[in-house]
Symmetry: D3
Subunit: 238 residues, 6 copies
């Protein structure tokens, strides 16, 4: 298991950087495919999560293997993952493009919450939606489906590179989600990208003030030298 040590500064950055600015910083670095779109928090009151990626990979089901009974096997990668994903990590799931089974339901999510896991990201649907909406735990997913995962999928392995919503995810990458979607930061540049994103968010707060005050976007967004200087002055006064 990749247990990623995270500095306090990194934690602070990850807890504030918006996915909008993170993706802008990533595109600046030539990385255009780091975001999962059209994904939403099941419980709108838990709209943000971050942490190192713990990956889980499904494949399509095979009728003789994907059964309720198989779920009792403690070596089943899905069941095992629930008990071993480290506290603070985000469990991120490749559901192999299936959209007819729920990735997890309320009991597995309850276990993850008790264990201190940071949250769940799945590119497939969830089940027990009514319960998940009341749980104080961030789950980002695409839609709802009643059937258990094994109705259409089979857990293959965990902590391997996966594709989630078309995005390559390596164990230990930093996953950050907010209402705009999910971003996966390569660990080698995660802190640096987050630092620049937080700075971008700060600048854009200033720009937004200017725009609300009636300024044109010309020279202001993106900022020219005058605007940058004015921003520095604004920063100094805060």
């Amino acid at each position: 298991m990749t247990n990623v040590a995270m500095t306090d500064e990194a934690r602070e950055l990850y807890s504030h950087a918006t996915t909008a600015s993170l993706t802008a910083q990533l595109v600046n670095r030539g990385l255009r495919t780091r975001a999962i779109s059209n994904i939403a928090p099941v419980n709108p009151n838990t709209p943000r999560v971050f942490g190192p990626a713990y990956t889980l990979r499904y494949i399509p089901m095979r009728e003789d293997l994907a059964t309720g009974a198989a779920m009792a096997d403690t070596n089943n990668p899905q069941r095992k993952a629930i008990e071993v994903v480290p506290a603070g990590h985000v469990l991120i799931v490749d559901t192999t493009g299936m959209d007819v089974s729920g990735t997890f339901g309320d009991i597995l999510v309850a276990r993850l919450r008790v264990r201190g896991v940071a949250g769940v990201v799945s590119d497939g649907p969830m089940r027990d939606i009514a319960e998940l909406k009341t749980m104080d735990f961030p789950v980002f997913a695409r839609g709802n489906a009643a059937p258990p995962s094994y109705a259409s999928m089979l857990a293959a392995d965990a902590q391997v590179p996966i594709g989630c919503g078309g995005v390559a995810v390596f164990p230990g990458d930093i996953v950050i989600a907010d209402p705009d979607g999910v971003v996966v930061l390569p660990i080698a540049i995660a802190e640096e990208v987050a630092r620049d994103a937080v700075e971008q968010d700060r600048l854009e707060a200033y720009v937004r003030e200017r725009i609300e005050g009636g300024d044109s976007i010309v020279g202001v967004y993106p900022p020219n030298d005058d605007t940058k200087a004015a921003y520095q002055a604004w920063l100094a006064k805060r």
Copy 2:
């Protein structure tokens, strides 16, 4: 018309069983394709419905037949269905994969409500969404579209076997919907499946308590013999 007599016990079971447990019970019986996913109640305050299926089938429109004027024909299968679907039934609709027309709007839904119909399930969009959100009547559908049904569809017949959201539905099957989606129970096993699902829901309430209390899922979910015994004791005390 298939008028399904329903025992009080059946009614009680159908009114409580979750679609999550119903689908698990169905997969146990080798039936993996009984649920419609990514479907939601238009009015979130009416999140549950059950009843025997009354089916309505559309085909793609033909410009000379699918007109507003044709709606006045009392033999139009759509108009006829609205007046003859029995009280207590669920009107379930095959919209032939079209997603650019509203299946029904507020007037037809109002008529169904007045007539005591249990609810509506459509694998296509609805129209008059703003009104439907205020009506105390369960409508499960996929999205929103302004145009009337005949902009892209033509009602072909009613009370024939249909596919709804990829699920075979026979008239008289039991339809149950909640926030996880819609399940269609073959009538011959509906009551038995619902009974087992309600029992599963009860067991899972106990399991959830154990998990919230800090237990691992190992041996608890799915339950081993010890957990089953403890569950029986818990049940006895309730």
Copy 3:
């Protein structure tokens, strides 16, 4: 720029006609493809917008051209559009089928709001969703995506005919959106269609009363001559 003069009567009609009735009137005239379905207001408190169309067209990105730096170019059609779309118009955007980039974010939308633009319609996702949800400005879009538009798209030009959500839109067409979706009225018939739609809405309010009162839809919806006469009497009494 097509600056469409709008009479007070037209404005009144457009501000009330539902997209459900507008599309019914359009189908009556042989126009079945004037509505964008499965599109929703980002901020549910701004569920309606109307105005002449100001069109913006994207093409797929090319890595060397679609960069953050290119956004500073005042000739960039996207940036230019933000500053020149006239007050009262609806900025309507063809995102070329891409669903992985946000069309606009909060700063550009704030500028449009300050400038008195009526609203935004995009057949792609938005970004800065959390902020847009708090802004008193109608934005109709399909989903959410964190990356900036240039992660996958390039603004090509403005005020040309476009396709938006499969609908042909010409500059100056009247765009009307409500919770059922977006309708695009050809300018030559816009006022007439809206007038008939408002009348249809009025009739349907009466029909809805009748249905709620227990009447069958037969002869009432669509109305036969008796119902039409009764409606006239009802109207006279109002």
Copy 4:
């Protein structure tokens, strides 16, 4: 069963009219949705078929009903259709959007051929492709799939209105297929449309000669009065 009497003239027209001209004539009459695209003859040596539609409708499978054993039931609508579709008719199939099962294989197709059926049109895949490619019998379909139909589908009924490839088909409509695809002519206008299409094909043969000879399309395609006159002269000389 709709047994459509066909005049010799109609037969002659249907055997020559191209689907390209037939669809042009249909669009002239306001019917834009009468063609199935991206469909091809399995055996490229049998690239044309016409005849009245005999419809067969599938729904999604249900595991307990869609079995090999069920195929022996002579009331199974699929099996029954094979024996009762009249000679000269086209068996046209609604495969409910499924693309993982073969609609028919070589044995059922052999039976249809022996019985004098005109051909098969399916909006799903075929199986026994290698054999079908050697049989002197037109089968138009979309792709290939090894599994038997009942792996994912269940025959529901026959000779009802269906949707095939997004096109409404009524029993008795005239189906005409060539390498451009399949066209479904409403029976009431079939002969008239075919007559105009054959005339259009004749005119376009002349236009093609002119274009190959170096003429511009201006005034020639579509033809102005001069070109029409020259065409009449050309016709007279043939």
Copy 5:
């Protein structure tokens, strides 16, 4: 590496069984999801292949990792697979739903051919199509794309369970492909299923003779007891 010993009898069965009969036998055993549809041999003169599965898994690309230079790394799972997949095996590839890159081109395929590999199955496109069409080596794929694999994908690992075209594939499963598509047989039942399929093919050859001779399918296909007895007599005479 799973090196599957194969008996001569098994080899004989696998070299003759059609995917049509194999899938029918699998559905009889409750396995409905063992076939990849809409896949075709690139070179139509190599329409059949069988062998144990050697799996290769891609994930979506990440721009800094998926480069031409990375292809020189001998630990790259794609490059490694080419050199280690055993003779007689089928290299079967999960392309993660991408359809814009070629899985392999002529040089890698040439190497596989020289090494005695049985063939290639990919659920994505191929490149160097013109060359592959001239090579005496079975490659089954879906379409064509010019860009190298790393334009949109990254090889993640080999010899792990994968999904290929929606079908679960385990290393060592028996892969059989013909013009109807690709079937993946679980190794534990592969020989038995193939034996029954070969017998079914033999019976269907007899049935086809009967049908061509003018018999109805009733009682013949599927065969009743009389037909089965006649078949045994026919077999005895061969």
Copy 6:
């Protein structure tokens, strides 16, 4: 009109470079989205074309504008394009994602051929397929559809930037197509990329010889220094 002067050397390079090597060279330069996949020559005997792009853009149809009569208007952008696209250019068409209408048929294609146009690329279907298959003129498209373009589309303008098959195309870009698909080279780097691609093709011919001779891909593909030296010696001997 962008009339691109082309040197004899450029012409020679474009006439030989494979799209496989061109896309590899483009990815090396950070351009991953320059190829249209799953597109094929309608006539397999005309499998290659190159030339500067002349773009044509469609939008979705509007019933009152997209008629046969409108085709007679010499200002119709589609008709105009046919007469003005310069000899030697490739007419490349954005069909706005529609797949139910034929982009062009045999008469327009015949006119383009007579006028010396290099070829046609469309991301939609063609019509008059049977005729196009016999014409000595390269047309690359996706599938077949009988209806005329105006059944679902309306020509909007020409010689503007377009998206074709998800690829940004600017007027004057160099379009090259072969059986692997279509590549669009930005004009500024077209000759340089083609030069490198032709060199890569030459190197790969050598590599292919080595692989056919039994060499491993290790050190040979991609080539290490030894292989590069041996290649130079091989080149010298040719």
